[in-house]
Symmetry: C2
Subunit: 501 residues, 2 copies
């Protein structure tokens, strides 16, 4: 989900007195990405998962922010100017005092040959529309009299690469769509349909507890006949086939081939061109250090070396100040209590406002129970261990949303630049993860309990996603779409190209 | 509205015992064209005005017709073969015993230069989507900082050509859209917006009574500030301007120019390429006779010289047998009663089953009240006068629908070819016409009464159109869409092109 939106929504209350906000985006709406798999299958209309930017930039007829529909192509940090290309041609520049870069990410193909040309991604509404069209096209093509049986099998083999929530939900939605709708309209083709899900790890939904993974695998394979290829890595995708190798220890490294009618690439997060450009120009690779995964920001989300530029969401990676660098200071601070892990644990909530490495999600406090006094050098190496354990917030919608809200709060509460610099560090919290696994069953990994299917699991999933949407406008639309699908079935007409006269 | 659908729906009850039906169409859905103007403005989603073909070709899981998504490119009447191009490449042929051509029409540009390249049409769902996108694009472009004031005026000047129901409803929907939704999101641009409606005749809705036209003109101009250019003929359309001349007697023939951001061409009905081809190959122009407007069919909708081929809807023009040619026979038939206009009037209901010229919509019966005995040659020229007065059914959805139902009835009730040839002639009836004129007001010209606005007129318009839809599926979707728009406003996000990585 685009973090800009939350940013914008949170900015609004104070806009009039403090800031002059301009939003620049190549699309005039924000995308609620968690619902895109439902759009692919026609369960929801595209309208359900977009929120027009302008429904927020005007409140009661009064402008609270400017919006320009354009690509940002370059940033001149020195002169504080953003260069933009209008989507319909034409360039313009916008001056800024503060810049927030929240451009998200795009799919990462890990340099695998021809993925971009032959696979579909699922990051934007247009991707979902293109997928729907491709699926409908394949069914229509398979239904034609001159299509061979073998070609039918190929056209109706849908491959999903990636066993995370996006991959699982997409496979589940396709399977539901075929089982509930297409089987009515194309009964003669159903024996030709198959769905495969390829995942490199040993289980689906790898970030969820194993019993949830097992439930998802069982539902997909037993109820929906999705074929799971676990411990398998894709090494190539062309127009009609996918090649993969098994990761199984001792398995042959000879690639196996699957003929496909459609491949969804739901694996990995990569940088958009603007981010690649900023990194290349401002943060050259250092020999021996790993390549940067996103724009490096400090614990206040400020781009390194650019105190008036912020970045958040999938395009940013937090690189907080190192505890080890502050070892001397902390050592003195411990004073009489003397530097022990327990002392650090006791002060972690306060220290985490400067060093997010110490927030509960980032470091296991059980390790901090020792009361053994450490000499200065051991104390420093202990701090270095904590530094090394730090992982920036994962590129999820949940974290992007929290970063957006955090930054808006900083801007609203700290109008002066120096106040902003002293703001407490961003620390994410974890509110749980949901996934729809098909056949009316959803799973949830939540802070206090887990859900593995059941007749209330899908209503719960729907309620949470409806609640997570930005405005009552989109909640209403989403609700009506679900009702419409319940009464009238999914959309099986297909948009086709403009008729050429 | 596609007449095939009614044909298909009416065919179904008897299909199993008599016919093996195959439907071929380049789109896998039928379009309910009367609602397309609402789709242009985002009041309804495209889903509201389509009906998937396959929701009719399968009933209770049992196939009742085959469907192929393809263009028919040629008909070999001699060998009874239809040649098809799949939309996605690949050709195939289908043999037939009976062929029904119901390919509709496309917009007629009357040979005016560059209309096809620069104007938008409104015959298909994709046209409506393209229009919505164009309107949104123009607003976004006008909102950019580098756009000049003059360019804003141009971008936001929407021109509709044609004052029939499509033109009027489109102008009304655009005006509502701008007044009710865009004014909230782009208040700073509203002073730049203008809508012009160009019509060749002296009033809008020329086929309706003058008081209805006057009401439509008043609503559009006074409530919605649409500029009407009546008695004006467009002579050229380019990318940024429309040229037109006044038809006013004595007016200058010098073309005037309007700068525009978007032109909708809602004027005239022309032939699709297949129909042009069939006419050119089978019905060459005869010197001195007017060029054919569609496929010439007899009173039973059979293509002339091709008794096993039928055509109906916008692509067909009924050319019934001439009364004058049967003058001798009718003269004898009159016998003792002797041939008088009154005799003809008395027998018109029966004779119209062979000569649809005599149906009440086609000839004014008041003229048949004379009881003067006519000698043979005068009787013949009187019949020739009736022949000359005949006009084939207008290319409207209403007539296409009636032709579809008629033909399905003929096929169902007359399984043998000779019975089909003896079927009573097709005679259309007139059930009235409706149009939405904006600002919540609809007009209706009905057999027993007229409606000119009022707070119940829009619900009436909606009720009639919902009722006219083909299945409960589309009625439900349409209803939910109206509710959604009522609660959440129209869609102001725009689909944009696939993001190029």
């Amino acid at each position: 989900m685009d973090p800009e939106l939350f940013l914008l929504k949170a900015f609004l209350p104070l806009y009039a007195c403090s800031y002059d906000v301009t939003v620049i985006s190549p699309r005039n709406y924000f995308t609620f990405t968690p619902l895109l798999p439902s759009v692919c299958a026609g369960t929801l209309s595209p309208l359900s998962c977009i929120e027009p930017v302008r429904s927020l930039t005007y409140r009661n007829g009064r402008k609270v922010a400017d919006f320009y529909e354009a690509h940002c192509t370059d940033v001149d940090f020195k002169n504080r100017i953003v260069a933009c290309d209008s989507r319909q041609g034409g360039h313009f520049k916008v001056k800024y005092d503060y810049l927030v870069i929240a451009v998200g990410s795009e799919s990462n193909t890990f340099g695998i040959k021809d993925v971009a040309a032959n696979a579909f991604f699922l990051k934007e509404v247009e991707h979902a529309m293109a997928i729907r069209k491709k699926v409908m096209n394949n069914f229509e093509l398979a239904a034609l009299p001159q299509t061979s049986e073998k070609e039918r099998d190929r056209l109706l083999h849908f491959v999903v690469v990636g066993g995370g929530p996006t991959g699982v939900e997409s496979a589940a939605e396709f399977a539901d769509f075929i089982k509930e709708d297409m089987s009515k309209y194309f009964p003669q083709l159903i024996p030709h349909v198959s769905i495969s899900l390829i995942e490199g790890g040993s289980r689906l939904l790898g970030t969820y507890p194993p019993d949830i993974s097992a439930f998802a695998e069982k539902t997909l394979t037993e109820e929906l006949h999705v074929k799971l290829l676990l411990r398998s890595t894709v090494v190539g995708v062309d127009a009609t086939s996918v090649r993969y190798v098994s990761n199984e220890p001792g398995a042959s490294k000879e690639p196996k081939e699957l003929l496909h009618g459609f491949v969804l690439w739901a694996s990995g997060v990569g940088e958009v061109p603007l981010v690649k450009k900023i990194i290349a120009e401002n943060f050259p690779n250092v020999e021996g250090k790993p390549r940067l995964r996103g724009l490096p920001v400090d614990a206040q989300l400020r781009l390194l070396n650019q105190p008036n530029v912020y970045a958040l969401g999938d395009c940013a990676a937090i690189a907080p100040p190192r505890l080890a660098d502050a070892a001397q200071e902390l050592f003195s601070k411990a004073g009489a209590a003397e530097p022990t892990p327990q002392w650090l644990g006791r002060h972690a909530p306060t220290l985490a406002q400067q060093f997010p490495q110490l927030s509960p999600l980032k470091f296991n406090f059980a390790k901090l129970q020792s009361n053994e006094h450490l000499p200065a050098d051991q104390f420093k190496s202990f701090l270095a261990e904590i530094d090394a354990a730090y992982r920036p917030p994962a590129p999820t919608a949940q974290n992007a949303r929290q970063e957006g809200i955090y930054l808006a709060k900083v801007f609203n509460e700290c109008p002066h630049p120096e106040e902003k610099a002293d703001a407490p560090a961003f620390q994410e919290t974890w509110n749980g993860s949901l996934a729809y696994v098909g056949s009316g069953q959803a799973v949830a990994h939540l802070p206090y309990f887990n859900i593995k299917g059941g007749f209330l699991s899908l209503p719960f999933w729907k309620a949470v996603y409806t609640q997570m949407q930005i405005t009552w406008r989109s909640r209403t639309i989403c609700l009506f779409d679900w009702l419409k699908t319940f009464f009238a079935g999914r959309d099986v007409g297909r948009d086709h190209e403009y008729y050429n006269h």
